[in-house]
């Protein structure tokens, strides 16, 4: 476009499409990872086998920076808006839902402002299209030609997936006014929970604060004065950490006013030999996962020290087999051709660097904990 003004109807259109996509993720229960960063909230969903990552900003008013050329961005936006419209249509049809989305509450009604507001709230289910033939869903049925081991693995994976998708099932969560409502509603609803907020905030609240069946209330205040005894009061990080951990975490560490554990990134998986913060180790041990063992290579010592230590080692009892193995290894290293030796040296050097880094991090952590 000629001018870089962003028109109101463009914004409205974009918001509508984004909400439709979020509705789809809610309906298909495909959200996998959430990460709250200082820039915005990152989500990752698995759609049709592909990991789709997107970022949404925090709910503040955005400023339009002056060094961004909005004419170019608007041109790209025209294309993306059309593309997303088609994608939404296709995704909705794979789930057999009406597109443009209709709510179950309004059966047959056309889009009124009320229905638009309720759609925007993400708290209500979409109405599905009537399916004519009750065809057998072959995609769900397991392929019986697989080996029993693979089949067992697939069964386990399916069970895990089902468990994850019902993470918040049975939870009735009420959101406080100071919490990021839209993000939390999206996350909780995707994983099968019921959620509501104070009706003065936005349209579409299903139950109020005084409801008796509320199991959790999300608050972000330093102190919570009025308390109901039948519900837990937690900080919003509890929800995000539960999603990333694939289970309901103990609520104690997330009480209002408590020192929250770190919000770790789910996009990072620690490989062997890397540093793991103690909190993560504790969590992994709780779950019963194998903590990757770190190979700590002893750092390069000075020659004098090495000689002294060797003398000590010779004096110690060493098994013959171990001695032989070490000697063989040394011989093999010496007999390597130059090219291979160079590669070997490089590998050893990088491993050395890694282990020194890990050591340094541990030292720093110890220093911090002491003070």
């Amino acid at each position: 476009p000629q001018e870089g003004h962003i028109k109101a109807k463009v914004v409205k259109n974009c918001r509508r499409l984004a909400l439709e996509f979020l509705h789809f993720v809610v309906a298909s229960k495909s959200l996998k990872k959430v990460f709250v960063s200082i820039k915005g909230i990152y989500y990752q969903a698995e759609i049709n086998g592909e990991n789709v990552t997107w970022v949404m900003p925090h709910q503040f008013s955005q400023e339009l920076p002056s060094d961004v050329d909005f004419r170019i961005m608007l041109t790209f936006l025209e294309f993306y808006v059309t593309l997303l419209g088609f994608i939404n249509f296709r995704l909705y049809h794979t789930l057999n839902l009406h597109y443009p989305p209709k709510l179950q509450l309004f059966s047959g009604d056309d889009s009124s402002e009320e229905s638009e507001d309720l759609l925007a709230s993400l708290a209500h289910n979409l109405s599905a299209r009537p399916v004519e033939d009750a065809e057998e869903d072959d995609s769900e049925a397991m392929d019986l030609s697989l080996e029993p081991a693979l089949r067992a693995a697939q069964e386990k994976a399916d069970q895990e997936k089902n468990r994850f998708q019902k993470l918040f099932a049975g939870c009735r969560i009420f959101l406080g006014r100071e919490t990021p409502r839209e993000s939390l509603v999206f996350v909780i609803r995707t994983l099968g929970g019921e959620v509501s907020w104070s009706s003065s905030q936005a349209a579409g609240a299903t139950f109020g604060e005084t409801d008796d069946d509320i199991t959790h209330q999300i608050v972000d205040r330093p102190r919570q004065s009025h308390r109901y005894l039948t519900r837990y009061y937690v900080q919003p990080q509890w929800v995000y950490d539960c999603v990333n951990a694939c289970k309901l975490l103990p609520v104690e560490s997330y009480f209002p006013g408590a020192d929250l554990p770190a919000h770790l990134s789910p996009f990072v998986e620690a490989a062997e030999g890397e540093y793991l913060p103690p909190e993560q180790v504790a969590m992994m041990e709780e779950e019963g996962e194998d903590v990757p063992v770190m190979e700590l290579e002893p750092p390069q010592k000075s020659r004098k020290r090495k000689a002294a230590e060797e003398a000590v080692e010779i004096a110690d009892e060493r098994t013959e087999a171990k001695k032989e193995a070490d000697e063989e290894k040394e011989l093999a290293i010496m007999a390597m051709p130059k090219k291979k030796k160079r590669l070997y040296d490089r590998i050893m050097h990088s491993r050395q660097k890694k282990s020194t880094e890990v050591r340094k991090l541990k030292q720093r952590r110890a220093a911090v904990e002491k003070s």
């Binding site: 794979t94 299209r129 399916v131 770190a262």
Partner: protein
């Protein structure tokens, strides 16, 4: 009595005056109408009923499918069947085309329309896989950018940022060093070297004598220097540097012979290339194959859009005292507009540009008018 207007008498004897003074408007209008009727089909009033209407004796409506079938979702079984049917139909049409022996435009070979949602991932065209590997649309965030990061990850992030900043600082320091290594002189010191500096390149009377012999020069130099502080003699340009006509002629002849020799050599080589045809063909094929070996992906990666290189924007970090630890007190860092804009530049969809800041090419001089002083 009113004076009647007499028509101005115009002679139409010449061609030009005839053409000027005739009025063809009515003819032109009529012709316009005719052409318009040809274009649009004419006025309906003039036409007969038979020309305007015709009675549909036989209904040519196709059998509609039953009502619900339209909305049926393509299930994998159906998709496979459809794909098989489409394949059969395509083969049939291809066979028919071959039979007719008419030159058929094969549209499918140039741009195959593939149903991305239906084909399994292995059969998808590789172009998509290549583009995806280049740079993802949304970069995975560093763990230190969490609003409540773990200590070590936050330190890692700060370290990365400090590396960048230290580099910038180093460059700035380097420039400052160059500026400061030339210390400013005061007026007294400057005067000492002023005469020497200002007389560089001048011809002074003592200078010409210094040109004969180098050994003698040292003595004469000292003596001269002692008297006048004469600087070293510059190179003297004599008046007899002009070339004579003979020299010009000689140079011209030489140039001519060189040129002729070069041309004859080229002609000889060109004529002899006929005998080198086989080896030339081999060279060409070798060049062509070596060019193809450079993978297209690498070419795209190395290519730069536009004159400016893409510079990574500053990382969004929050220092330890800026970290809020609470979602309510979080102050967001960074702007998603900028992030997306830079991402488009990083993926080479837009060329990186520098903003054109208006500036003057001259320095603005300021003065006050006499009246205002």
């Amino acid at each position: 009595m009113e004076k009647t207007k007499t028509k101005k008498k115009v002679s139409k004897k010449s061609k030009t005056s005839w053409r000027k003074n005739t009025d063809v408007k009515d003819v032109e209008e009529f012709l316009e109408e005719v052409r318009r009727d040809e274009r649009t089909g004419g006025s309906a009033r003039v036409k007969t009923d038979a020309e305007l209407f015709f009675v549909h004796k036989k209904a040519d409506v196709k059998d509609k499918p039953p009502a619900g079938r339209k909305h049926r979702v393509d299930v994998p079984k159906q998709r496979k069947r459809n794909a098989a049917l489409a394949e059969e139909a395509r083969q049939k049409s291809a066979a028919a085309a071959r039979k007719s022996a008419a030159p058929q435009e094969k549209k499918s070979s140039t741009c195959p329309i593939v149903d991305l949602w239906a084909t399994p991932s292995e059969a998808k065209p590789s172009k998509i896989a290549r583009q995806k590997a280049a740079a993802p649309a949304v970069e995975v965030p560093l763990p230190g950018t969490s609003y409540n990061p773990a200590y070590n990850e936050h330190q890692n992030l700060l370290r990365k940022a400090t590396v960048v900043e230290v580099e910038k600082l180093r460059k700035r320091e380097k420039l400052n060093r160059f500026a400061s290594s030339m210390p400013a002189m005061n007026q007294f010191e400057r005067e000492k070297t002023w005469v020497e500096e200002m007389s560089v390149g001048l011809q002074l009377p003592g200078a010409e004598a210094e040109e004969d012999g180098s050994d003698e020069d040292l003595e004469s130099d000292d003596s001269c220097r002692g008297d006048e502080e004469a600087p070293a003699a510059p190179k003297v340009v004599r008046a007899d540097y002009r070339k004579s006509a003979k020299q010009r002629r000689k140079e011209k002849e030489q140039r001519e012979t060189e040129r002729k020799a070069r041309l004859t050599k080229e002609a000889r080589l060109r004529e002899n290339e006929v005998y080198r045809l086989r080896s030339i063909k081999k060279e060409i094929s070798r060049e062509a194959s070596s060019q193809q070996q450079v993978p297209k992906a690498a070419q795209e990666k190395n290519s730069q859009l536009g004159p400016f290189k893409f510079e990574e924007p500053d990382m969004e970090i929050q220092l330890s005292d800026e970290l809020s630890g609470s979602l309510r007190r979080l102050k967001p860092e960074g702007n998603l507009f900028k992030d997306r804009f830079h991402s488009l530049q990083r993926r080479k969809m837009i060329e990186p540009r520098r903003p054109v800041i208006p500036h003057r090419k001259y320095r603005v001089k300021q003065y006050t008018k006499e009246a205002f002083k």
